[in-house]
Symmetry: C2
Subunit: 341 residues, 2 copies
């Protein structure tokens, strides 16, 4: 292979802030329920089990590359995988999401969360090595949840719309909060180091729920912990930093140490670039638009391609994950369209 690991790939070049001949294109949650071949291999196998089997992780990660010809794969995982790996009692319930048996509220519970070592996630190391071999020049993106989003699941006990207990603990017990997020940052960092050691070409830190916070709260209570993760990886691979509803946080999410800031569908990429400064951007296509007719979708893709030129580097992607009802052909068509330019 001329380019094992994809260091010269469009994705890595765009992530490093280079204006590429065309943007690389991939889709958040491209490996998942929109694909019949995914539903077939997952049949009868729970989400956490499928994330802990190297053969399944490898197969599921490859599926969208085979089908759509996207310019990057992303490791199939879930943000709670490293928590499960260090012994937190949790499960992923279909139609609900992660459910934590004993929500975390006390210092003793925080103390009980142990660090992650590579031996806790051998299947991740194995899957990444297998994938790097299989993918050739197509880069593989590593995957981890950010400390705040992990903390929200642990404190609320599951997915939350309001994050009320999380915010109450953040404001009411700042030392306990900081202890919890520091510990989660260490776990996230160790989890990403395993992936980088095994050969991923970039990583994406998912702070899915960070958009629930004001910029002031994000800056004080969250940014230092995400920065601990991203900063420690500065000399490794490009780092993508993403959350939803983060229009007020885009600049801070860059400052946390990202090479690329992910943008949802609410802020156009040219405006996002004004807020972020000289970093690459990724995203902005509304996942709901994949359910619309092609002329509508094409218009939006063209808009995003034009607005993305304002940034030093542009990675074409959705503003959030692929919706389960999406017709996979719509995704393939967008990939072909971006490739045709």
């Amino acid at each position: 292979m001329a380019d094992p690991g994809g260091a010269e790939s469009l994705l890595v070049r765009a992530a490093r802030g280079e204006r590429t001949p065309r943007p690389p294109v991939w889709f958040m949650r491209q490996a998942g329920r929109s694909l019949p071949e995914y539903r077939a291999v997952r049949a009868g196998i729970g989400m956490l089990e499928s994330c802990a089997r190297a053969d399944l992780v490898t197969e599921i990660t490859l599926q969208p590359v085979r089908r759509h010809g996207v310019d990057a794969a992303i490791l199939f995982s879930d943000i709670v995988v490293p928590l499960k790996a260090v012994g937190v009692d949790l499960d992923i319930k279909p139609g609900v999401g992660p459910v934590v048996a004993e929500p975390i509220r006390t210092a003793a519970q925080v103390e009980a969360i142990r660090p992650l070592t590579p031996d806790d996630v051998p299947y991740v190391d194995q899957a990444v090595r297998a994938l790097v071999r299989e993918l050739g020049g197509t880069p593989l993106i590593g995957f981890a949840g950010a400390p705040f989003t992990l903390a929200s699941y642990l404190i609320e006990g599951g997915p939350s719309r309001e994050h009320a207990r999380t915010k109450a603990l953040m404001h009411g017990e700042p030392r306990l909060w900081s202890a919890l997020l520091s510990r989660l940052a260490e776990i996230t960092l160790a989890f990403l180091r395993v992936q980088i050691g095994a050969g991923v070409s970039a990583i994406q830190l998912f702070d899915s729920w960070a958009g629930a916070l004001s910029a002031a709260d994000y800056r004080t209570h969250v940014l230092p912990h995400s920065a601990a993760v991203l900063g420690a990886l500065a000399d490794t691979v490009p780092r993508i930093h993403f959350g939803v509803g983060t229009g007020e946080l885009l600049g801070l999410m860059g400052e946390a140490g990202a090479d690329v800031v992910g943008v949802d569908w609410r802020v156009p990429l040219d405006e996002a670039t004004r807020r972020i400064g000289p970093r690459a951007v990724q995203g902005n296509l509304d996942p709901a638009l994949l359910l619309a007719d092609w002329p509508v979708l094409e218009r939006e893709v063209r808009r995003i391609l034009a607005e993305g030129r304002a940034a030093p580097g542009h990675i074409f992607n959705l503003g959030h994950g692929v919706l389960p009802d999406t017709d996979p052909d719509a995704i393939t068509r967008v990939v072909e369209f971006v490739h045709s330019l």
Copy 2:
């Protein structure tokens, strides 16, 4: 009564863009599940039934005024009440929200939605008249859902996180979309005219889900319909326009014809004022903060009071509705604190 209807009240003065000696204070969803007296009167009575009984609407609307001494009451209702009143088959399911029996997808279904007349909602007229008598100088705020948020419920068939079908219809069938929203705007306008005719001192248009849209989509597909409602009421009472996650839309929500723009907890009021221009603002206290300790809450209240001075008029409120788990005493304490300044 010196000031029936509250035309000289702090609320109306602040809404008109006047800098008042202190901001008036009320809370979205102040009448509701946080209050034991609310749970008592609602026991065994469904949400839609309770909204359609003038005696209950009156009692529930008054409860937070009695308990907290807030500076305004808001009519107890639900955004789907006018839809139910014109015969749309829907119910409000506890723990779920509005559920529509036959989600709207066709022109025939849109045609079948008939206009609202005052005779459809006699209980609203009765309750408002009773409340204006009871409230004396405390102003009563009228209540209605905006066309987009109503359309989302009708198209999705219930609450939605992604609004995928709504967006697909908006983009894919713009004529059908426009027909539906025009019809909903007429219903909303008629519903608000009943309330204004019966004596409310201001109205609030709730576009709860508008924040799911980009500014471009909002401007093209939503703003004209909300403007049809707000514009028609320009010479009546002050108009408050509110949604969640609307940081990118604040200017447009003002342009739609609002005297006051409601702001969630993500955008500080001084920054909101820069985006909105010379209109009054309302909101910004994170409802989750009512679950924190008083020193934390007091600091936030002080911050909001300071930042609100940047606006021509400031109405103190939450950035979204009171959470059901809220201790009512926390609300009372915030009211007393604002009143003491």
